[in-house]
């Protein structure tokens, strides 16, 4: 199992170890990240996915592979290639690759209700990397007779997962609002339901060569998901219209980046770090000498352009703009509900954990992990 120290891998190891259904061999890169799975006496293999020999050694004696690792370009490309190659060499009987609905980009087409909808390169770098991985996995399946299965989960949530933690933090920092009534689907899957799908992908003879969406049984709207998370905090989330949102910063990439620079440079910590680079030290002293040497009006004009328009918030003012490109706001503008009908039909996928139960288990963990106040009063709508 690659990516075994992550959120999904951690839970997968846990369920495998506790149920004795499988004997996981987690491939671990950073031992300090493996605490959750080290609670079990597992057969750990240490190494780097970029090291073909380490991957090959770890594959020895394995019947199947679950590939969950994600990371930089080297992990996504060479890492996957090494795992596929070793899987073929060791004749594993099943290769389950965990992909993502991100292969459809930030605005998935309406047809992507079903996984039959073709995915194309999009504006989403992560989605493109996952799409390229899917192609590689399927190619290996065709050329080498490897029994590959691809699972595409949407937002995976549950204990130890980032989804609820980040949503709670966004609500706390008032970065998120419910857009246009929050009626669009949130596309969630509770981590245990994904574990069920992985078990099915490992065991069912109908799985090889197929791509499956894996989602929760009942579709949940963004309104419900956000208000339920806000209730855990005892907070309210404002409703806004899409038309009110501050425009995406994408088109202002250069200007905003340049404007952000003086603030970053003025940051003492950043400068301290930067002065460790001799070249940067030289450049900074030249810049510091150059700006005051300009004629007064020119210097003022440069400073004015660099700093942009001042935003002054009145005392106690609640004036607050929500940004269209905030991840939890951008996500609300996707109207497609991906369906796991195919997994249900072909694999017998049941998604046994309901949204309410999943959220309640997640809440118990959030309190244990002190992300939520352990003693706070909870109201849920």
């Amino acid at each position: 199992m690659t990516g075994a120290t992550g959120f999904i891998g951690g839970r997968l190891c846990e369920v495998m170890a506790l149920s004795h259904a499988f004997e996981p061999r987690p491939f671990v890169h950073t031992t300090g990240s493996a605490w959750r799975i080290a609670r079990f006496p597992l057969d750990f293999a240490l190494g780097d996915l970029g090291d073909g020999r380490a991957v090959d050694r770890a594959m020895d004696g394995c019947d199947a592979v679950v590939h969950l690792a994600r990371g930089n370009d080297a992990v996504m490309r060479r890492g996957l290639e090494n795992v596929l190659r070793a899987a073929v060499a060791h004749r594993v009987s099943r290769f389950v690759h965990i992909s993502s609905v991100a292969v459809y980009g930030s605005q998935p087409p309406a047809a992507s209700v079903s996984e039959a909808a073709p995915a194309k390169r999009s504006d989403l770098a992560y989605g493109n990397a996952k799409l390229e991985q899917e192609h590689r996995v399927l190619r290996y399946g065709r050329r080498h007779g490897l029994n590959v299965v691809i699972l595409r989960p949407p937002n995976v949530y549950g204990p130890f997962g980032a989804f609820s933690v980040e949503l709670i933090n966004a609500i706390r920092s008032r970065g998120v609002a419910i857009v246009d009534g929050g009626r669009n689907p949130c596309n969630l899957v509770y981590v245990d339901n994904l574990v069920e799908a992985i078990f099915l992908a490992l065991r069912r003879p109908e799985a090889p060569g197929q791509v499956f969406f894996v989602t929760d049984r009942e579709p949940v709207s963004w309104k419900r998901s956000i208000t339920d998370h806000a209730a855990l905090l005892g907070a309210d989330v404002p409703y806004v219209a899409a038309a009110e949102l501050a425009p995406s910063a994408r088109e202002r990439l250069w200007r905003d980046s340049v404007r952000a620079l003086p603030g970053v440079i003025a940051d003492a910590e950043f400068r301290r770090a930067l002065t460790r680079i001799p070249l940067a030290r030289r450049a900074m002293s030249l810049l510091a000498a150059w700006l005051p040497s300009l004629p007064g009006p020119t210097e003022q004009a440069v400073r004015g352009w660099l700093r942009g328009r001042a935003s002054v918030r009145r005392n106690g003012s609640s004036e607050h703009a929500f940004h269209a490109d905030h991840p939890f706001i951008a996500a609300q503008r996707r109207s497609v509900a991906h369906s796991s009908d195919k997994a249900r039909r072909l694999l017998g996928y049941t998604a046994p954990v309901s949204y309410d139960e999943g959220l309640s288990l997640t809440e118990a963990w959030l309190r244990e992990a002190r992300i939520l106040d352990a003693n706070a009063v909870v109201r849920r709508g």
Binding site: A17, F22, E23, F27, R39, L42, A58, F199, P352
Partner: protein, 400 residues
Amino acid sequence: MPRSINTRAEIPLLTTISDTHRNPTASDGGAPTARRSGAVRIGVIGCGAITEGAHLPAVLTSPEVELAAISDVNASRLEYLRRRFGLGPIVLGDYRDVARRVDAVILALPNGLHAPVGVELLSQGVHVLCEKPLAVTRQECEQLCQAARSTSSILAVGFVTRFFPSTELTKQLVESRFLGELQSFDAEFGTVGGWSPLSGYNLARSTCGGGVLVVSGSHVLDRVIYLFEDVDVVSHVEDSRGGVEANSKTRFAATVDGRPLQGRVELSKTYRLSNRFRIVGERGTLEVREGQTRSVTYLPSGSALRHELTAAALPSTAAEPDYFQLQLHDFVRAIRTGAAPRVDGEQATRSVALTERCYAIARPLEEPWCEGTLARLARAGAPPASGAAAGSPPVHVGAT
């Protein structure tokens, strides 16, 4: 808003640790005599992250010692360190070759190897500065202490936090009854992951001796014993499932001035906690946060003020010293004078004994998210169980 005030309380001067030992005396344990203008010849056994990050820099910049050998079973790791620190022909694959070349060693092997290797070295009269914890069991600790006594060798244990002025200051404040009658103590240390031993010895009970209670907790237990001396475990809850625990919650009972003192220690390797040690007394609370090496924070009862207490002798602007080097010099002082090091084997045995006691009475931590759904997941996709045989034989999933 509470303000930060440096009250410079009347605390006796801290003991100077790094004495310069101008008149070295030969150790009486039959160990080889020190060379190079009296420098103690040191070997480092075990070349993991702590050796690279702390022990080698401390040794190589010390005028008191000479690095005479380093050893590890991993040849590529040795080569890496040889290049990184520009070391000469002192790199050895077998730790047994180290003993012939040195007066003393820093033992930084995985915890499970401390006792077998340490006993062997001490029995040959080699002084040992052993990384914490001293060993995995109390019995092993006692073997190490016995081996040291039998050859009059020094056995020091690397509880480096004992060299923080804040630890000594806390001890003085507790002993001087600064807080009046003590009411409770509590410690919380938790991070999401962190500290990644290269060999992965932290992933198994057999090599590490335990989980977060050993890795993060040994310092805390050592401090609790150092401060309150008479300490016992009341309850211990943790989340190990046959491996090493990532979370633990322990309750202690101590006796101070004949009065009972309750304590609580919570440790995590999966959650971020408040990362501080606290002592509550009738006059207020003392607090030492993670990384607070030189002062102790005092929060008086019924006051919104916050005082940063430091020892009067501590120059507040001086750079942070290398605590690993202070520890090393304390070890050298012990070798030269025959006096006990700041943390000796007997002291370090007490925290291992306390750890052992925790594990002996451990109860499982409640994790409703862990088991609640298992029955619905385990048999997904498995062929129907026939007769009494429950489930198919396990499939080995994995690799990479």
